[in-house]
Symmetry: C2
Subunit: 196 residues, 2 copies
């Protein structure tokens, strides 16, 4: 069974792409991030709510503050990566909803008037967008190093506000020497998929 997606693209995005733990010094430019965003912004979210927000940590001072909140095993690579991004969910995404969903502006008040409902929806949909973003980083010919080993409350306090829930931090760049472990096994189809 062959896919419609050509094999080179399959390799670039999934089969050959790997989570990088080391990077070269080559910078990641704003233009590259813009190109990634301009691709992955089209990935679907519920009601087109698009709750993902991206904080690029570029200044050495900000990088230092971020590294202090990373788990010890993630500090060296977070310090060394050409670019580091904090991905978060905007729990007040509903303010943008009338603009994002012009054919159904009443969705804002019908479905998202309550903060706990928004938080739950923002978390799921920003996570979908985080995955699109990782795929987009790979589409740009770069490696992503997504990490959840960090002090989330600390990162939120240091870089975000009460309306933004951090999901993960992603190192971005060209893979360096010994950039990854051997690929770990995946679950077999029958361990994941059942039919009713």
């Amino acid at each position: 069974m062959s896919l419609a997606l050509d094999p080179a693209a399959q390799d670039l995005l999934f089969r050959e792409a790997r989570t990088a733990n080391t990077f070269t010094d080559e910078p990641v430019t704003d233009e590259q991030v813009q190109a990634i965003y301009d691709l992955v912004k089209y990935g679907p979210t519920a009601f087109n709510q698009s709750p993902l927000r991206i904080t690029l940590v570029r200044s050495p001072e900000a990088r230092e503050r971020l590294v202090a909140h990373m788990a010890e095993g993630n500090q060296a690579k977070t310090k060394a990566a050409p670019l580091v991004a904090i991905l978060s969910a905007d729990n007040e995404f509903h303010d943008e909803l009338p603009a994002l969903l012009p054919h159904f502006p009443q969705a804002k008040d019908m479905f998202f008037a309550e903060r706990p409902v928004r938080e739950q929806s923002a978390l799921l949909n920003a996570a979908l967008q985080a995955a699109y973003f990782i795929v987009g980083v790979r589409a740009a010919g770069l490696a992503a190093g997504p990490m959840t080993g960090l002090d989330f409350a600390g990162v939120q306090k240091e870089f975000l506000d009460d309306d933004h829930t951090p999901l993960m931090v992603v190192n971005i760049g060209k893979p360096g020497e010994d950039a990854w472990f051997p690929r770990s096994p995946r679950l077999a189809f029958d361990e994941v998929v059942t039919t009713v």
Copy 2:
């Protein structure tokens, strides 16, 4: 700024791909689902925990039971789609962790001994995998129709168990007539990305 991913693949996965609301009658085979899974299983998750589980709703009787739990606006398309999949997070993914992470089997007990920690991690990582799955459906030349308008507790009770949290239901097939609304606007780069 051009991406490494070729333009045809960009169109197939993001730019031209759309959430479908109608489908042709052409079946979606198990071989197609296998090909999708064999691609997207390589998408990264924390500790390679791979918590996504997929329930293919194939029998007419099961389809009927599922439709009854969908929001009214989602019932007709869930009834008509060639294939419908329930995506869920396995909160007991840690049982598989020593096999999935052979170089660090102690992660199971070091990080995932507590059920609330597992639930939170499974939710985030299964959501990432749900996005990879949507991208994979598109990579197979099919359209996905992901939906969260449904009775989650009802779907869990009807099709899953206490260890599996449903995330969404996805209609899958070739797009039919008037399969989608016009594309809704996306947020501008500067509304999503900030630099510190």
